[in-house]
Amino acid sequence: MALPATADAADAILRVEHLCKYYPVSRGLFQRRQLLLHAVDNVSFEVKRGEVLGLVGESGCGKTTTGRLIARLTFPTTGRIFVDNADVSKIQGADMAEFRKKIQMIFQDPYESLDPRMTIFDIVAEPLNVNGMGNLEEREQRVAEMLSLVGISPPSAFLFRFPHELSGGQRQRVAIARALVMNPTFVVADEPTSMLDVSIRTGIMKLLAQLREDLGISYLYITHDLAVARYLCDRIAVMYLGKIVEVAEAEEIIKEPLHPYTRALISAVPVPDPAVKRPVPTIKGGVSKPINPPRRCRFYERCPVAKSTCAEQDHPAPREVSGGHFAACHQL
């Protein structure tokens, strides 16, 4: 189900082909048949240089697993990931260090992702230390530069503080500075704003957008919030139970969703206007777990437009419905 390349391959900073990650589920000691949770199942997409791709879905749909696979924090069961046309799974030895510099991750919870015993300087300088970059003076200079870039100013007032002395928004800024200190070309941002208050959240969203403009970083932006993705991403990919069901330009997917799941998801998002009465989503039941899923459309049980033919065929491959708008549904 490879998506046809939208431009020549050199244009893509990240290309994911038929990516799968299955986790074994233990069911007692003497269970003979092995159960597999299909966390990510035959997923293909690409991120162009300088682009922000939003990966949106409900909890348990495999969006974080996809991010971790790309950052090589875990290994795929099958499938390949190319960063700058280099196969990530084949990287070894000294090349690994280079790869780690290129790809960085920002985590969801800034209260968990910063070591409480390290000072802000130690936290942001750690990647420099690990890679043996510069002497102490140069490191200090670089860290101060990064901190002011992410809006922590004056940096000198913060360098030797500890994370507990900082607010949530400031911590997330430190986490961003740490991710950017090695000049990465690609950043996996896993729900970086979901733990923050609204008045702080907009600031972080604007910072991420600004850094992309200034430094030309591409992002994979993982979120459950379609409204946030709309504001930050160029394109949005919607995931459901380990599968990408729809990919399109952000504005197009919000205004004209094609897949029945995307439609349900969008109609369920509350809107800040008391006068608007949204239609009741037509989706049935609740999310199950993709443990040894039957060979048919993952959305079949809950789908409002499913026909009996959907049950007889394998999960549909995404196809281009209109320019750059892909959806995986038999009924389209």
């Binding site: 409900e58 909890s59 607010s167 928004g169 400031q170 208050d197 609204v198 008045s199 702080i200 959240r201 907009t202 600031g203 969203m205 604007k206 459950h224 919030d225 379609l226 409204a227 946030v228 709309r230 504001y231 504005e251 919000i254 349900a264 998801l265 969008i266 109609s267 369920a268 998002v269 509350p270 809107v271 800040p272 206007d273 008391p274 006068a275 608007v276 949204r278 009741v280 989503p281 989706i283 609740g286 999310v287």
Partner: protein, 347 residues
């Protein structure tokens, strides 16, 4: 008619090692029977403290400094423990934040609700209580055989429904729902909010929804109260507060929310961070972050006043209806006309 719940200049502080935290300061609001109030604000602004004050569940280090809370005209803080116990569950019930963790893991869900009913209504027999649990489960949409299951066998959404059923168990006149859907996915959140709203209308119950999410509040509330740093800054009909916000904080908050509706508008940023309530700013607590602040704002605490009929606000320089927000002019950005909030106009 007398309001069901009335807070009158209610002020409550917490004692900590570092000093007194002014968590709730001079809050005045009232809630009519059958009305849904949305209490919105960022973390640490005192929303949950108000809920805990109404339930009289405050910790030992808290102190009611001023003001009263009247439930059906009676001061909660002059009631005896026995009277408060009677008021809880039958008068006011509460759905706590992270409801999934408020069920006891070692008891069957049905038993927990039966226990609540029998404790608060000693005249009810256990059979009657079980029958009531059955009809409550039907009301909130859980299959009734699930009564005999343990919480770990439930999904997140089902636990949330069970907690709602529990809050409804003694037919309360009012329910306080503290972030009832925050941990849930949007589709489940949507279903639960719709169900709660239907149930409320069906049995004409009052409701206080507490949330940090402006859009959730917009969906379910008749009246909206906005809190900032322990103070109520704006209160009015949902339509007024959302479409014609008068307090600069409310205005910025509404515009800071990304929406999937309408055309994209520039998201507002509020500079700085919420103040430390150990030592809140003098005058208006919002003035260090406010674009409209004048010299007066740092000196005098603005009065709580009715700015339009039924629309209250505490601000020296409220946003004019249809006027220009100073922040937009300062940032060099002309107000974009025709956005979905309908709050901005031409400069």
């Amino acid at each position: 008619m007398d309001p069901l719940l009335k807070l009158d200049d209610f002020t409550m502080h917490y004692r900590t090692k570092a000093g007194w935290v002014q968590a709730v300061d001079g809050v005045t609001l009232s809630l009519a029977r059958g009305q849904a109030l949305g209490l919105v604000g960022e973390s640490g602004c005192g929303k949950t403290s108000i809920a805990m004050s109404v339930m009289k569940l405050l910790p030992y280090n808290s102190k009611v400094v001023r003001g009263r809370i009247l439930f059906e005209g009676r001061d909660i803080y002059s009631m005896t423990d026995g009277e408060v116990r009677k008021m809880r569950w039958k008068g006011v019930a509460m759905i706590f934040q992270a409801a999934m963790n408020s069920l006891n893991p070692v008891y069957r869900v049905g038993n927990q609700i039966v226990e609540a009913i029998v404790t608060h209504e000693p005249e009810t027999s256990e059979e009657e209580a079980w029958a009531r649990v059955r009809s409550l489960f039907e009301l909130v949409g859980i299959p009734k055989e699930r009564m005999y299951h343990y919480p770990h066998e439930y999904s997140g959404g089902m636990k949330q429904r069970a907690v709602i059923a529990m809050a409804l168990a003694c037919n309360p006149k009012m329910i306080i729902a503290d972030e009832p859907t925050t941990a849930l996915d949007v589709i489940v959140q949507d279903k639960i909010l719709r169900e709660m709203d239907q149930i409320r209308r069906k049995i004409n119950m009052s409701m206080i929804y507490i949330s940090h999410d402006v859009s959730v509040i917009a969906e379910v509330s008749d009246v909206v109260a906005v809190m900032y740093a322990g103070k109520l800054v704006e209160l009015g009909q949902a339509d007024d507060v959302f479409k014609r916000p008068r307090h600069p904080y409310t205005y910025a908050l509404m515009r800071a929310y990304p929406s999937i509706l309408g055309e994209k508008h520039e998201l507002a940023t509020i500079p700085g961070e919420p103040p430390n309530l150990l030592d809140p700013p003098s005058g208006c607590r919002f003035h260090p972050r406010c674009d409209r602040a004048s010299a007066e704002c740092s000196k005098a605490d603005p009065m709580w006043r009715e700015i339009c009929p039924g629309h209250y606000c505490t601000c020296h320089n409220p946003v004019e209806i249809g006027g220009t927000w100073v922040g937009q002019v300062r940032s060099g950005k002309a107000a974009d006309g025709g956005d979905q909030l309908g709050t901005s106009s031409n400069s």
